[in-house]
Amino acid sequence: MFALVDCNNFYVSCERLFRPELRDKPVVVLSNNDGCVISRSDEAKTLGISMTAPWFSIQDIVKTHQVTAFSSNYTLYADMSARVMTNLARFTPHVEVYSIDECFLGLNDFKYKDLDSYGKEIRETVVRNTGIPISIGIAPSKTLAKLANRLAKRAQVHVLDTAEKISSAVNEFPVQDIWGIGRAYARKLNSAGILTAGDFRNKPLEWVRKNFTIQGVRLWYELWGRSCLPLSQSSDRRKAVCTSRQFGKLTDNYKDIEEAAAVYTTRLAEKLREDNSCASLLSVRLATNPNRKELPQYFQTITVPLPYPLNNTPDLIKYALFGLKKIYASGYKFSKVEVTASGLIPEQEIQLNIFHPDPGLKKNKLSKLMDKLNNYYGRGTLRTAAEGFEQAWAMRRNYLSPAYTTNWSDIIKVG
């Protein structure tokens, strides 16, 4: 048996934990740069605010109904997510953290336990310890657990443990809402007269084999309660690492763009060192805002081959800015710069380049020391000058909440 645990309105729930007065009020969390809505409280959903609604377009609703908005505070969400996941992992040795707010649990070791009451116990513990509301779906396969979770929203724990419960659930479940069914797949199924998950699994396996790929066959088995998708441990070594952010405002100032590129490259280098990887290729992409059709458009990417695989900040910045200079063109209002590292090689397996006797080992060491200092004293304590000081281009975060759990100066004061 599998459980799929999902944090309800996760980002909003994190904000509310430290602002109890917002418990029954409409709240939304905005994407990076305060662009659009990415998390809504139930009250905000009721007001008709849709997911990914642009922030500027809902100003009227916000004013009339006093909706509270937050800029995304990923520092807080990451810490709260870790707290939820760690609490969950205390209930079973088989855990797959699926995303920042979803987690699969393997419950095969608990054959003799009543899973409904175990689910409730898990839920109560997590809600008490973290303050984040969760819902749990329990079923014999991951696909059915995900489906049960959708049905759990009201009851909070939903168990599909008998053939009858499963068939009455799948017979009413729209086929396009099944986990892993994309829009194209859904259209194909609908045109074949398949509207619910039950319709799909009632087709003979031969028909599924003929018309769909192996994924379709797996799905068919999973819907019959035969697990084909095991829990996967954390994903394999990344193949490429990318950092990009939109600018707070459009800019044609080369110095601003250079600073932004340096900041993202710094973050990229940190990610590489966390993974103990080195990059052999570095790409820089510069783009204008495609939604501003009245402005001249420009998109350009350059890939710089690095002389030897490396992950130290100063060298990566040097090559990123070299690439940026090549593709920059004046006269455009840019909205975004993106830096990607690819050709990743484990740190231990670097081959030396005969034409570059110094593979930057000293600088790699220096960067690791910078990481330690920044880890202890707070990110950004030690920086390269290329990152600039004013960062006029920085992303908009007008409604940012404090880092209640990760910064000593942000902890709550009590009377």
Binding site: N87, T130, V414, G415
Partner: protein, 154 residues
């Protein structure tokens, strides 16, 4: 997505391993144990621990003054006699919980001060249980007036 363990101060010391010798092997090698770390005493369950800070002397009788750091464990149940973090009408406070058969009260322990009655309907909330309070005994250096820049990732 699990958070990495925090950097220890000793990671930043110039001497990486003071026990590593170049000459005679240390006779103490087999007897080394980790140095005491106060977190082991103060934080029973770091995953469910949060920190608050007192900005008043209201709870003086419990040794809590302005500047006292409160260690709060959400996994513990509020029980009579325990100190709890309370959210009451828009204000955060720390109080002792008194459980009577018919009602729960929050008190500062001062005789002339009436306790506050716990009322969930008014939106009152017990947020967590205080496990330790840590008070500085050396005067804090005056912090510079300039606000510390926000150095979180952008």
């Amino acid at each position: 997505m699990l958070r990495k363990s925090e950097t220890e101060i000793s990671d930043l010391e110039p001497l990486e391993d003071p026990g590593k010798v170049s000459g005679f092997q240390s006779p103490a090698d087999d007897y080394r144990e980790d140095r005491l770390n106060i977190c082991e005493r103060l934080v029973a369950d770091s995953v469910n621990t949060y920190y608050f800070e007192s900005d008043s002397d209201e709870m003086e009788l419990f040794g809590i003054k302005k500047g006292t750091v409160l260690i709060v464990d959400r996994s513990l149940l509020p029980q009579g006699g325990r100190l709890v973090i309370v959210w009451n009408e828009g204000k955060w406070m720390v109080r002792q919980l008194i459980t009577l058969p018919d009602q729960w009260l929050f008190t500062t322990g001062r005789e002339n001060e009436p306790p506050i009655r716990f009322n969930e309907k008014k939106g009152m909330l017990i947020w967590g249980v205080v496990t330790w309070s840590c008070s500085p005994q050396i005067e804090k250096k005056k912090q510079s007036k300039n606000k510390k820049p926000d150095v979180r990732p952008r």
